[in-house]
């Protein structure tokens, strides 16, 4: 019997061999490396030509020197930690509210037609527009910033999860009911894991929305943080600091995306199969 089953398994192995995969990977990395080296040289050349004022267009070396300096004196670390703390608080709340809300919206018509429509409408409002109200409501403090972050990401998360639940095969859900899943255990053991691919998509989208909202809020409201480091750089005419901060913001965004969601992607691909 096991023999008869084997073709299915060996088909899965009949993918391109690892060595071929690896060599094409090396090639891709090589092309990227070349491209970015080219950009770097172009930047340095433009700077060396002195077309623009040095105050407006910093050279790569100046940016690197500033970056090293602020990383060493700890001022960047303080800013990064302050921003990450707000991000994690706001985003954490968004996930904790957005996922269950999305699951319920996907199942319950009434909730979807009320909260779902509201979420869709609010989605059209850039979250930074909440800042004036938030400052009036909560004062000029951390809660106001967290609120903006939450409003920036919770809708995206819940709507993505809702769409995921809606797209589930009705047969799968009936099978679960036949096997005795109901009430809370239906949500925990069936709906949530079944919608996991969409949950991850939503969480990922929410993460990048939260990051953007936070930077916007910090730029407008000066306190310790990456956004305010940018404002400070502008006020001090320290373009090296501005560009260095921008690069650090990019780096954090990329690293966090990899760390948080890379593993989830692998898990989903392994379980659902590559064809999805």
């Amino acid at each position: 019997m096991a023999k008869r089953g084997n073709p299915a398994i060996s088909r899965a192995h009949a993918l391109p061999s690892y060595s071929r995969k690896n060599s094409s990977r090396v090639q891709t990395i090589g092309i990227r490396l070349l491209f970015f080296t080219f950009l770097f040289i172009l930047w340095q050349t433009l700077f060396a030509l002195k077309i623009w004022n040095e105050m407006l267009f910093p050279g790569p070396l100046e940016v690197i020197t500033t970056a090293v300096a602020v990383l060493q004196d700890g001022s960047m670390a303080t800013a990064v930690l302050a921003s990450l703390k707000r991000l994690i608080t706001g985003y954490g709340i968004s996930v904790a509210v957005g996922i269950p809300l999305g699951l319920i919206m996907g199942r319950n018509r009434l909730i979807d037609e009320t909260f779902g429509t509201l979420a869709l409408g609010l989605q059209a409002l850039p979250s930074i527009c909440w800042l004036p109200l938030a400052i009036l409501w909560f004062g000029l403090n951390e809660i106001a910033i967290c609120f903006v972050v939450i409003m920036g990401s919770v809708m995206a998360i819940s709507l993505a999860v809702r769409d995921g639940v809606r797209g589930l095969s009705p047969l799968l859900l009936r099978a679960a009911r036949v096997l005795g899943a109901d009430g809370a255990s239906f949500y925990i053991h069936v709906l949530f894991p079944a919608a996991l691919p969409s949950v991850v998509t939503g969480a990922r989208l929410g993460w990048s929305f939260a990051w953007r909202s936070l930077m916007a809020a910090e730029l407008l409201y000066g306190t310790v943080g990456l956004g305010s480091t940018l404002s400070m750089g502008r006020e001090l005419h320290d373009m090296g600091l501005v560009v260095a901060t921008m690069l650090i913001i990019i780096a954090i965004g990329l690293i966090a995306d990899r760390l948080l969601f890379g593993g989830m992607d692998t898990l989903i691909r392994a379980r659902w199969g590559t064809e999805r």
């Binding site: 073709p7 398994i9 679960a176 036949v178 255990s185 053991h189 894991p193 079944a194």
Partner: protein, 261 residues
Amino acid sequence: MAELKLTAVSKSFNTQAGVITALSCVDLTIKEGEFLCVVGPSGCGKSTLLNLIAGLEFPDQGRLLLDDSEITGPAADRVLIFQEPALFPWLSVIDNVAFGLKMQGGAKQHRTARAMELLDLVHLSAFRSSWIHQLSGGMRQRVALARALALEPAVLLMDEPFAALDAQTRDMLHEELEMLWQKTGKTIVFITHNVREAVRLGTRVLLMSADSGKFVKEYPINLPRNRHLEDVELVKIASVIRDDLKEVVATASGRKGCPNG
């Protein structure tokens, strides 16, 4: 004991094409250990019968009893298997099989042991840690069977479970299902549009009309086990039923032409 009794059961649906009668005043008793096969044209209400017994839908009129207690919803004593295996892609094969037991709140150790037994029964123990997408269609349907059997249902409800499989795999699964049924003595209600399959498996075959929601004919099948699809007697009975089925379809399409339809 596991005797199913349907008395005067009616069920109809409102669709865009008008009211469709799936079941109309159906009386039916399914004895313990019986392997009942229901054949009929597609869309005649065969699946509705199973959904009602499974407790996923409720009758407009009439009563459904399992051992004298009313069916009020899905329960572990009646498990439904679909044409698509409907397995859970986020769980491994063994966790799929153990899912029902987990919902019942059984101890982890017991669940795993029981799931292993059932995987042995369907000859898939080597694939216990595989993901669903790694299995072939026939293997998936066997996992679905094991997952249903894990709950030790009194009644196994099967809705065209082998319709999407190739002939060779289907043959093999017929054999396995027959063996399982002989071993466990479960009551099985099996829906199919394949007449030969019905005769191959059933102790009784019921023929359903195309659009009146009634059973029109009943055929006891007393052929010896184990049967084969090519058995001469089997083919003979199947051809009789197939002729009746053709007639059922013909009268239905004739009726559709009638303005009072």
